[in-house]
């Protein structure tokens, strides 16, 4: 008990000092923090605690990829593949190609032709082919044959899941580009679970513009307007809208086939038409897009083509001559704001699928600041009560406990800074709670010391016994709380996770401060005072 090695004393002091240094930047305000950072060498991090959205205010939105939409587009492209394959092989069909739910079906009555088709389909179903290790990936679709030469291709679950995963990745990329161009400060965009995307924007309260920006698929297509006599299975009726986006101004039978791939668009800029002075979007294609567009327009001179954005016709001009320059202009009934937004969306690229908001939480900056103030006040009141309580109950030993408590709080904050963890309102509650629980360990130790002393042990042996015997109980009780903190961390999200982090940090620092540090202080005090009676 008496012997406390110098290096231990020094390292505890150093740890406490370091903790204090680490948390200073969090408590001096933004302006001072920058000033401090400018004096210090650049390799020294001057970091403040990251405040959660519930404290600094902001928006938290979760979007979900529409799995049905993904399946639908997968079925569409499978149908296109089948159509192309049959055309390449010049195989006659009995009837059209039907698509329903997760499958595509068509009838090939001729036996030899069917065998050929099935062979080709098998390779189509295995895009990766047989891998080097001889194992095959699960096929994209299953092929079932039934009487009358009916072939049914059914998409596999695994292929859809893979497609959803890719769609989420792609969506995150697109969203990042879209949100970055709006100049929003530090948005946090990340995947959540298999099919969700979390977007957190500090400081944002009105989420409507964000929702418009994210919720628009921005799929731009150039499709021919069908002429009379077309197969109805190959066209769809699309509406044209006025500036307000609600009044229908026209409806066109539009071919399902797209003339140019949307990803071949390389640039889009807002501008004004030189003749009419209307707001327009000027766009450019890459080489492939320019060539495709040129070929398609030269084959269809004098026909109408529709510029389609998210299944709405923007305009349907007549092709007067082949457009081969690889660039063009979209004019519709646009406002200036609309051409700006459309340019942003087109530059950022289309979303692979539609998104739905499944969760939205916003906190205004006013409420955030109120919560910080309330949390601080509660913290001060709790600390004052506990400090007074320890002081009146244990006197000198209470002072030791209070010093340890102070360091304990500093260490929790330092831990938050070092881990880059987010401080949330439940996190503050967790810190206030650990103020009450940290001194528990001191109480257990001191009470044991008293008890041993009353039983007639000498001071030094009571101190020794108190610390060693109480230690096991402290570890026991802290480990139950730690189990809870760990479970909460893995189950909770956002605010609750913040609570789990501060609770967990508090438990670890309790062992350092309430046990080791108090013990050191008491040992030094004993050496210095050589007391005849215990002050507790």
């Amino acid at each position: 008990m008496q012997r406390f090695q110098r290096w231990k004393v020094l390292s505890i002091l150093a740890m406490s000092l370091l903790a204090l240094l680490i948390i200073i930047p969090s408590f001096i305000g933004e302006a001072n923090r920058k000033a401090v950072a400018s004096w210090l060498p650049s390799w020294l991090p001057v970091k403040a605690i990251v405040l959660g959205l519930d404290l600094q205010g902001g928006a938290h939105l979760v979007w979900q990829v529409d799995a049905a939409d993904v399946t639908k587009s997968q079925i569409e492209s499978l149908r296109d593949d089948v159509r192309r394959l049959l055309r390449d092989e010049k195989i006659p069909l009995a009837g059209g190609i039907g698509a329903s739910g997760r499958s595509v079906q068509f009838r090939v009555p001729d036996e030899t032709a069917r065998t050929k088709v099935v062979g080709r389909l098998r390779t189509l179903a295995q895009p990766g082919g047989v891998t080097a290790l001889g194992t095959t990936q699960p096929p994209v679709f299953e092929i079932a044959q039934s009487e009358g030469g009916l072939l049914r291709l059914t998409l596999s679950e695994a292929a859809t899941n893979e497609r959803i995963r890719k769609a989420v990745d792609q969506t995150i990329e697109v969203l990042r580009r879209r949100i970055d161009t709006t100049g929003t400060t530090e948005p946090n965009i990340q995947r959540q679970g298999a099919d969700r995307i979390l977007v957190q924007v500090p400081g944002l309260l009105d989420t409507n513009r964000l929702k418009d920006l994210v919720g628009t698929t921005a799929k731009l297509e150039f499709r021919l307007v069908a002429e009379p006599g077309y197969n109805p299975a190959d066209i769809e009726m699309l509406k044209e809208f006025d500036k307000d986006g609600k009044t229908v101004t026209g409806e066109y039978p539009v071919e399902k086939r797209n003339m140019v791939r949307g990803e071949d668009l390389t640039d889009a800029q807002p501008g004004f038409d030189s003749r009419t002075n209307e707001p327009v979007v000027n766009f450019k294609f890459n080489i492939r897009g320019g060539r495709d567009f040129g070929e398609a327009t030269s084959r269809n001179v004098n026909k109408l083509f529709a510029i389609v954005l998210d299944n709405k016709v923007i305009s349907a001009p007549r092709i007067l001559s082949p457009i081969t320059g690889g660039s063009g202009q979209i004019s519709g009934r646009f406002t200036v704001q609309a051409v700006n937004d459309l340019s942003i969306l087109l530059r950022a690229g289309a979303l692979p699928t539609a998104l739905t908001v499944v969760e939205e939480r916003t906190v205004g900056p006013g409420l955030g600041q109120d919560s910080i103030d309330a949390g601080k006040l509660a913290g001060y009141v709790a600390a004052t009560l506990v400090v007074l309580y320890m002081l009146t109950t244990y006197g000198t030993f209470g002072i030791f406990a209070n010093i340890a408590l102070f360091v304990h709080i500093a260490m929790i904050f330092a831990g938050l800074v070092l881990l880059g963890a987010t401080l949330t309102l439940p996190g503050i509650a967790g810190i206030v709670l650990t103020i009450g629980m940290a001194v528990d360990s001191n109480v257990l130790i001191y009470e044991r010391i008293r008890e041993e002393n009353h039983l007639g042990r000498s001071i030094i042996s009571s101190l020794e016994a108190g610390f060693t015997r109480a230690f096991a109980t402290i570890v026991d009780s802290q480990s139950t709380a730690m189990v809870v903190a760990v479970i909460l961390y893995f189950l909770g999200s956002g605010p609750v996770r913040g609570f789990a982090v501060t609770l967990g940090l508090g438990i670890i620092t309790t062992i350092i401060t309430a046990v080791t540090m108090t013990r050191m202080m008491i040992a030094l005090w004993y050496r210095w005072k050589r007391p005849q009676t215990l002050p507790i």
Binding site: E359, G395, I428, L444, L488, A500
Partner: protein, 316 residues
């Protein structure tokens, strides 16, 4: 150094706690049954985390919030029952719209409707929209959390204690859990995802108190092999009761500060926790220890298992 000194709990407490079981057991049994009945009949007041829907916290731009007016405005929107409640400041009001039929899109539409109707007079301080899919998952993960932590506690007790002590601790923890659920049902405090955090913390903290008592009983049992078990339990509880009271007092002080000053967002969290901790202290003294007698705990039940349980610890 001289201070104004005082002790909350006197040193030489000599109370025969075992005698209290005649009152505490029927009382606790009644309270537990009442809690279960309350939970099954009245149920919990689920917040939108679990029930889904829309919650808006509004502040009147020029003074006092007019609840009656807000009620009539929001009722006209055709969103079913809309709860309008005052809280905290006289300017503040919360508006809660139940989960709308029609999936996630319908919830968004409902929020837009309410916002459009009130935005001239009120500023939005907080908004939450939870769709049916997310709320369903939160219910699931909340349930998993509670079940997992109970399992973790069971596993911990299984390794740590002889079966009688473990069973006693489990019963005490369940008792606290049930009463806390009853507290939520009775007070109609909103039950949301932070309430799950509160409940799990209560499980952890109430177990702390139980562990302190049980550790002491085990220690005393080893020391006095001839003394009757009832006396041993009384001795142990008397020895640790002052520290149980003191440790829970410091925690309660911190929680009281949170309830009074921590703001309305975490008030229900802090209140539930206060209740749970008081229940935890009560059960560790009056419920957990007397059970040992019913479980036939004897002085020799310890020595028989001691070698397997690893090194004997002497604890506070």
């Amino acid at each position: 150094m001289k201070f104004l000194r005082f002790r909350l709990a006197p040193d030489n407490i000599k109370i025969s706690f075992m005698r209290f079981r005649r009152y505490s057991y029927p009382l606790s049994a009644l309270a537990s049954i009442a809690s279960v009945i309350l939970f099954l009949t009245v149920g919990l007041n689920y917040g939108i985390d679990f029930s889904g829907g829309t919650l808006l916290e509004l502040r009147n731009k020029d003074g006092v919030a007019n609840l009656a007016e807000l009620r009539t405005t929001t009722e006209k929107l055709g969103l079913g029952e809309v709860e309008v409640q005052a809280f905290g400041d006289e300017r503040d009001v919360s508006v809660r719209v139940r989960l709308q039929p029609g999936g996630d899109v319908a919830q968004q539409a409902a929020m837009t409707k309410v916002l459009d109707a009130v935005k001239d007079k009120y500023e939005v301080r907080r908004s939450e929209v939870v769709g049916p899919r997310v709320s369903g998952e939160l219910v699931q993960s909340g349930t998993i959390g509670v079940v997992l932590s109970i399992l973790a506690v069971l596993a911990y007790l299984w390794f740590r204690y002889e079966w009688q002590l473990a069973v006693a601790a489990v019963i005490a923890t369940m008792h606290d859990l049930l009463l806390t659920i009853g507290f939520f049902s009775l007070t109609r405090i909103e039950f949301n995802i932070t309430s799950i955090a509160a409940i799990l913390t209560i499980v952890g903290v109430s177990l702390n108190e139980t562990v302190i008592v049980l550790d002491r009983i085990r220690e005393t049992l080893r020391k006095y092999r001839k003394t009757p078990i009832a006396e041993i339990i009384d001795m142990s509880v008397n020895a640790v009761i002052s520290r149980t009271i003191m440790t829970s007092t410091t925690t309660l002080m911190a929680l009281l500060a949170l309830v009074l000053f921590g703001g309305h967002v975490i008030r229900s969290f802090s209140m539930a926790m206060m209740f749970g901790i008081i229940a935890g202290v009560y059960s560790s003294i009056f419920i957990c220890s007397p059970i040992l007698i019913y479980l036939g705990m004897r002085n020799d039940s310890l020595s028989a298992v001691e070698p397997e349980k690893g090194k004997a610890k002497e604890n506070a």
